[in-house]
């Protein structure tokens, strides 16, 4: 393993220091260890506060979505490990502008536990807290067991939609409703070519052969559904789109947003080749694409691979996706 770092135990601390040095005009940390980070302008009085959190190693997920039109605060864990409930509570207290706080995060045991505890503690202090837990990875559990599914890059759509709605001054229940709707209409699946390496022990997250790919791999190296020889972009896209379509049937005439997410090492060139093949797959079925996103949205450090996320749009979601947003890591103009 080769990484740009100092002592491995300081990986998260050094990274957070760097982020706050670079973006002190947009972000602030609430504690000396910088594990609770919120917008410089927090709280926004009257606005529903949006918080996320999870392990490090996925930038721009989670911290990168704290900013205008997206989220208000984040709790930062160690690499691939949940932050603690007390950090989440710190962020929750600060971003509560009096209209309550919505937690949006991915469906992983440690995160769920800690966010649930933080919610309970916050409620005990009189803060209204709701949660929507992203679970978009169709490869991680079969239909009927959706609540076991992992949350991966499709989380972006929950952030985007809820962020835009909260900015309109909507109530906690309204913001939760659109986040739920985005969740119901979003599906993802990925393919990994290579493992990533954990900074603290230098171990690779999984083993894979010279010419193999893991279909349905999670963003921590969780096993997927099948291991195959590497295939062409077209064939991989077909596999993934069929799995997504089997779970979220898309009619001819439907309109979707497409997100092609690089897991870390995969070049933008390749992501655009994948986008081309997705676009063509959809066009053949008379499905149109309204907002294509191609880039890195939820990485697994230096893992090579990508995932495809599809959100089926309606008028409301389309308007919310279109809204501008601005964080140090991601910007979208009107």
């Amino acid at each position: 393993m080769k990484k740009f770092m100092n002592e491995p135990e300081l990986f998260e601390a050094d990274m957070l220091e760097g982020i706050l040095l670079a973006h002190d005009n947009e972000l602030q940390s609430l504690t000396a260890d910088r594990r609770a980070i919120v917008r410089l302008t927090s709280p926004a009085v009257g606005k529903v506060g949006l918080a996320t959190g999870g392990g490090s190693g996925h930038l721009p997920l989670f911290l990168g979505y704290v900013g205008k039109g997206l989220l208000d605060g984040v709790a930062v864990g160690d690499v691939f490990a949940s932050p603690s409930a007390s950090v989440m509570l710190d962020a929750t207290r600060r971003i509560n502008g009096g209209s309550g706080v919505l937690y949006l995060y991915g469906n992983y045991g440690g995160d769920v536990l800690n966010f649930d505890m933080a919610a309970e503690m916050a409620r005990a202090e009189g803060i209204a807290v709701e949660s929507v837990v992203g679970a978009d990875d169709v490869a991680s559990a079969p239909k009927g067991m959706e609540d076991k599914r992992r949350g991966i890059a499709g989380l972006f759509y929950l952030f985007k939609v809820a962020g835009a709605k909260a900015d309109q001054g909507a109530s906690l229940s309204e913001v939760k409703r659109v986040a739920e709707k985005a969740k119901q209409r979003t599906r993802s699946m990925g393919v990994a070519f290579s493992p990533c390496y954990l900074p603290f022990n230098g171990k690779e997250s999984f083993n894979i052969g010279e010419n193999e790919m893991e279909v349905g791999m999670g963003i921590h190296g969780e096993p997927g559904i099948i291991r195959l020889p590497v295939e062409s972009s077209k064939r991989i896209v077909q596999r993934i789109m069929e799995a997504i379509e089997g779970d979220l049937p898309l009619k001819s005439g439907a309109e979707v947003s497409v997100l092609i997410n690089g897991l870390g090492a995969t070049s933008k060139e390749e992501l655009y080749i994948v986008y081309r093949d997705v676009h063509r797959w959809l066009a053949e079925r008379q499905i149109s694409v309204a907002f294509p996103y191609v880039g890195e949205f939820a990485t697994s450090m230096e893992m090579a691979g990508m995932s495809i996320s599809i959100m089926e749009l309606d008028e409301e979601l389309k308007e919310l996706v279109a809204a501008p947003c601005d964080t140090p890591f991601w910007r979208q103009d009107p």
């Binding site: 864990g77 691939f80 490990a81 949940s82 932050p83 603690s84 409930a85 007390s86 950090v87 992983y108 045991g109 440690g110 536990l113 800690n114 649930d116 505890m117 991680s140 559990a141 076991k148 992992r150 954990l198 603290f200 022990n201 171990k203 997250s205 921590h220 190296g221 969780e222 096993p223």
Partner: protein
């Protein structure tokens, strides 16, 4: 023969547990790697390292055995907020709070405290015996403590039974299908491997039993006439 645990002894047992966790880092990690993400050795190592530091600072005169367990719990939950760190952290917290006013823990106190830990973890994790989790070791140990208390066994004897039951519970997880956490996503494929968290559960009883045997030996050595 030792019949109660003092604050110092409780602290010593937690240090012993930290040692056992240290020795088992690789095994915890590799079991977690098979059905999970492989970080359990690291996270428990971090958590118990933090516990060690915290307990080195406490003024034992101001604590009870229960408050020591509770402190260990909040420390674990903050320093190792993974699934198991969080569950076990809250488990220790509630278990300690249950007996926080008792100056020295007898077998009954210990059994009650242990039962509270099992119930807390089960409640928070929505998990039950047989789900292939830490509970399979912990609740086997808790049951053994209860039975020994009813039978009037000594503290050391009870801990021997509980240790044996917890290891048995751990080994038995090899036959179970996981229902919780990352491992739950493997369905049938999870059968055939022991659960990493259950190993952690067995280590807890191992630490109590080793510790109490040690205190017995020392007190026996220092007061041979007893």
């Amino acid at each position: 023969m030792i019949t109660k645990l003092s604050v110092e002894q409780t602290i010593a047992i937690m240090h012993r547990l930290a040692d056992l966790v240290n020795q088992a880092t690789d095994e915890l990690g590799s079991l977690d790697a098979i059905l999970g993400d492989g970080d359990l050795g690291i996270s428990m190592g971090k958590g118990f390292g933090a516990i060690r530091k915290t307990l080195e600072q406490v003024d034992s005169a101001k604590e009870t055995p229960g408050s020591v367990l509770a402190l260990a719990g909040t420390t674990l939950a903050s320093a190792a907020p993974s699934t198991l760190g969080t569950l076990l952290g809250w488990g220790f917290l509630k278990a300690g709070n249950r007996v926080k006013d008792v100056p020295e823990l007898n077998l009954e106190n210990l059994a009650a405290s242990c039962r509270t830990m099992v119930d807390t973890i089960s409640l928070l994790g929505h998990a039950r015996m047989g789900d292939k989790t830490i509970l399979d070791a912990l609740s086997a140990g808790a049951d053994a403590l209860d039975a020994a208390a009813k039978q009037g066994d000594s503290l050391a004897q009870a801990c021997h039974f509980a240790r044996a039951a917890a290891w048995e519970g751990f080994r038995n997880t090899i036959h179970l299908q996981a229902k919780q956490g990352r491992a739950g996503r493997y369905f049938e494929r999870s059968v055939g491997h022991e659960d990493a968290g259950a190993l952690m559960g067995a280590l807890i009883f191992e630490a109590f039993s080793q510790g109490i045997d040690g205190f017995g030996a020392t007190s026996a050595a220092s007061s041979p006439s007893e």
